[in-house]
Amino acid sequence: MRWWRADLHIHSTLSPCASLEMSPARIVAEARRARLDLIAVCDHNAAENGRYVRRAAGGEPVVLLGMEIQTAEEVEVLAVFADEEHAFQLEQELQQSLPDIPCDPDLFGDQVVVDEDGEIVRRVERLLLTPVALSLSEVVRRVEDRGGMAVPAHVDRLPGGLLAVLGLLPDGSWPEAVEIAPWTRLADAVRAWPELQGRAILRGSDAHYPTEIGRAWTELLCAEPSLAELRRAVQNAGGRAVRPSQETKEEC
């Protein structure tokens, strides 16, 4: 076992709010520069660019297929999968439950699928940056039923953070792990939300621009950078562990 660096929260050109510089090749280049071993591309309610980022990376870093799902409660959840098939199944279900609002690029930005060579595959016409019609518990169930892992994103932040929106962690065993915002001090988060004590705390960059990749990450003590080992690290199984990076200086 050794420590690996993971960032499960990176946006790409498919997120209207992200820069058009966030092509698969650029994401991979910046992730390598930031010495990341495991990344997930989590666009809003969409997984498609993950495939091309994975092709661009060729295994370095390891790329999980991900999405940042906005639930009916307007809570944002990172969903990460090892395989494309399950990610794309869920992506299709989510997009069927999105309201049919066209994406006006002047208002929201472009939603572009870009391949590993930087070629535009297609533009997504329906606005992705809006909640799906499924509740948080239904979203978590659908992720877990497909073998994915669901982690509430930047729980302490508005908009979209689970604690900021819902006030408390929901009853039950989920979530095992939570992501905190890049600028939140770990001690402050646990003081403000004592229920975080004893849960695995992750940090992601939530990068929308190339230079933001690497501003925050999570270190995983485990055997290899993979979804299975991430899960075991979150559970502290067999001496594995997770450790979020220091907070970034500024709110972004």
Binding site: E73, S135, L136, L163, A164, L166, G167, D171
Partner: protein, 110 residues
């Protein structure tokens, strides 16, 4: 004013009504449960669109007189069951939040 009287005047439909004798002292409108936790007052009637199970916990923690779901939005049965067990009144109205808040304000502060 007792919640029972407000239910009748505003035509609210009780979904869980463990204690309609609660005194209503004011109102609070918010869909952010963290905001309700921080700012709602005991005895407020809380008007919301949020239907997550946590509304019951937040309502109980703040000691609200009841929770009104606006625009006819109904929570799932587990939310109603939990509210009954926790002694939290749940009501629903087809009226929009602006409408029900305005009418409640007129009743409480004539």
């Amino acid at each position: 004013m007792q919640l029972q009287a407000i239910v009748e005047i505003l035509g609210l439909e009780p979904l869980a009504a463990p204690d309609l004798g609660r005194e209503v002292r004011g109102g609070y409108c918010s869909d952010l449960l963290s905001d309700v936790l921080a700012h709602a007052q005991p005895g407020d009637l809380w008007i919301t669109h949020q239907r997550h199970l946590n509304v019951v916990a937040v309502g109980k923690l703040r000691g609200v007189a009841g929770i009104v779901f606006a625009r006819g939005l109904r929570p799932s049965s587990d939310v109603i069951t939990r509210a009954e067990a926790e002694g939290v009144n749940l009501l629903v109205t087809p009226a929009a939040a602006f409408e029900v808040a305005g009418r409640l304000h007129r009743v409480l502060y004539p």
